[in-house]
Symmetry: C2
Subunit: 123 residues, 2 copies
Amino acid sequence: MIMELDYQSEVPVYLQIRNEIVKGIGRGQIDFGEQLPTVRSLAADIGVNTMTVSKAYKLLDQQGYIVTDRRRGAVVCAKNQMPDFASNEGHRKELILLASEAALGGCSREEFLDMCREAYVET
Amino acid sequence: MIMELDYQSEVPVYLQIRNEIVKGIGRGQIDFGEQLPTVRSLAADIGVNTMTVSKAYKLLDQQGYIVTDRRRGAVVCAKNQMPDFASNEGHRKELILLASEAALGGCSREEFLDMCREAYVET
DNA sequence: CCTTTTGTATTATTTATTATAATACAAAAA
DNA sequence: TTTTTGTATTATAATAAATAATACAAAAGG
């Protein structure tokens, strides 16, 4: 599994792993129902501790992106079981902050929306 | 100065202060060129340590939102001096992650753009 | 049966971050 | 001269992040 990590980033590694997997599912590089690599193999691949990957998987499980099972490993949920976006108040607040920064940073509403449109990849 | 802080949040207090000020400027609640409260008064207002507010001001200064001066205090920059948004790669990556989560979470591209449009308040 | 594999729990340790506290400083303004 | 400004300093405490080594329960494969 390809995974771009930035060890200089202020974003913790386990969160970066979580984010990369979410983007992978969103882009279609990881399929719904697909079995993720085991924590041990992924940890070896990217050169981090087993528990760091486990922490990422646990978070993905808690957020409803995957189901982890001691016996079956980690499996991506079905499309219709993914966590709802519109009802997530945290995401709304993130968008408001980003939009504020955009407005201050010289982006008109339409320019901002163009960037948002570009960020959303149709599957 | 009104400031909503969540001490249960995983976002550090100094970052929340920074974010609230950026949103305040973006919403027009804080004017360009306006003098911000002193670190001591804001710290007393919201009940945190002086250095916590100082850290927020220092970050805002480094990012180009305000100018701090030992003698003149903290002053919001002019509109045309605000940090550029479109060229900020970090913001692009944030948008891509959000868009991925939106796509997985049942938001069509248009629904996602509606949320983005709603988040951007015209001044 | 036995071995392997699974995610995770546990314990210990190290490092970095966050926040508080009390003090101090340089320099402009009053 | 005194006050006010942001910030530097030093110390301390609490929390978070990452590593390390080990262990466990339970299913799967042989």
